[in-house]
Amino acid sequence: MIGVRILGIGSPSGDDQAGWLTVDALLAGGVQTTVDPIRVQKLDRPGSGLITLLDDAAWVILIDAMQNHDPIGRIRHFGADDWPAYSHGLSSHGFGVLNALALARELGSLPSRLDLYGIEIGSASPGEQAGSEVQAAAQQLAQHIAADLTATLLQT
């Protein structure tokens, strides 16, 4: 069993790298070495493969791009009670994340703590870099997650 699994979901298309950029910022901040045991991964549209990554961790932090007509760069947090009611706009990956989470819930494969973060994105064109708002949001979210990890894991 892994203590914490951090999953950044994205694709190499402009702002859609939001999840990857957050993971990059976490790793650059040394999160992996300061608080163990943590497994950090970047995923490219994992589909149902996400489920197998959920059931062997006590705490999963999942970061994905989202489009919900919010200002670009806005960060939203969904706890375990929030995302099941959120039927649209959470992920840029179609079937992917919400369906995988819903299926994992039916199968009893959700971790005891699941934090889902969405970063509102703009353009997601292949080959483009992420915009400055999304890059800044990724840095901000990484700092928040690192602080949360430190506070939570130091308590246990």
Partner: protein, 433 residues
Amino acid sequence: MSEQKRTVAIHVPVLTRVEGEGALDLRIENGEITELRLRIFEPPRFFEKFLEGRSHTEIPDMVARICGICPVAYQVTAAQALEKLFGVEIDPWARAMRRVFYCGEWIQSHSLHIHLLAAPDFFGCNSAIALARIAPDEVRRGLRIQALGNELMELFGARSVHPVGIRIGGFHGAPALSKINAIRDKLRAALPEAEALIRWAASIPVPQDDQGFISVAMQHPTDYAIETGAIGVSDGLRIEADAFDVHFAERHEPHSTALFSTYHQQSYLVGPLARLNLNHACLPEQIKALLAESGLALPSRNLFHSLVARAVEILLALHEALRLLDAYRMPDSPWVLVTPRAGVATGCTEAPRGLLWHRYEMDDDGCVVNARIVPPTSQNQGRIEEDLRLSLLNLGLDHPDDALRLHCEKVIRNYDPCISCATHFLRMNVERT
């Protein structure tokens, strides 16, 4: 008594269990089907054009991008076609490991289709999530099998989506023996799960349908054909890949951006059921025994048996991967040198969804002059329309529109059409007069 005429239009906004973007138009007039068209309106992706001018060294990685579910099929087909043209004999290690790599793709693609796309239909569920409520153990097992297929693909391709392992002449690298040993244990442990999957799949009640159709699949003298063999047809024809154009033709229909394929002007079936119909004699004895136990008589004329055919091919792929990995050795080199030459290369393999055929015209520098790729879904397109018509007539046209729509979707999903990896929906318009 006057007969009331009515027009009904149904719009189904989202269907998440078909890979790609398509629609179905159905018109029923005076109790007869007067129009039935599977419309594929996804924009052309121009992959064949993208390949022009590209070096042979780039082809495997480029064609892998055509499909997120079956990239290995595209890579192996292209590599083998070009190796044949270049007169390259790859190491027996590479030949065997390509089959193993391909088995990984069959395992993951078939398990995904059975559990997440097709099976919910037969339990009255609208999604795999609903199916998980009534068959959680079966769905969990399916996800485990799918994950194992992905793991096998990652072993040889570094990642399961758009893998990068194959090169012209073999593989870029060879997995370490320790990794092979680890996955062999997992494959062995999965055998009873796959056997149970066949029993479960065979026990699912499916509509009784009896249709005459032509099956087309690769055939090999001894093995259940996956990556090598000649093209076989249920009427007895057997040809090499370079004779494909003599017997098969593609044509454009205005309502579809995918080309329709015909065999001697007739629609035909490719895919798991076509393969099982033609090649069941090549299955290992244990699987033949399981099939006999299931009561499935082959060749089958019921497309709803496609689900159990996929289950059978999962077990076959596990057996094959295990057999070949039991004899694993580290190669002196995972690839051999290739000297390109000008000419025409053709090749085919059995993608999870059926026969995949490639043709490349190459110049002296080993660059593509032009390319042609015939994927399984376009080959099945005519058969799907024919099946829908026959299947609806068999069901009866008097059912409510919703029942007709659900039946049509169920029929279409038998073929696991892979229209694209992007968006997923089927709009259906029914008109009655």
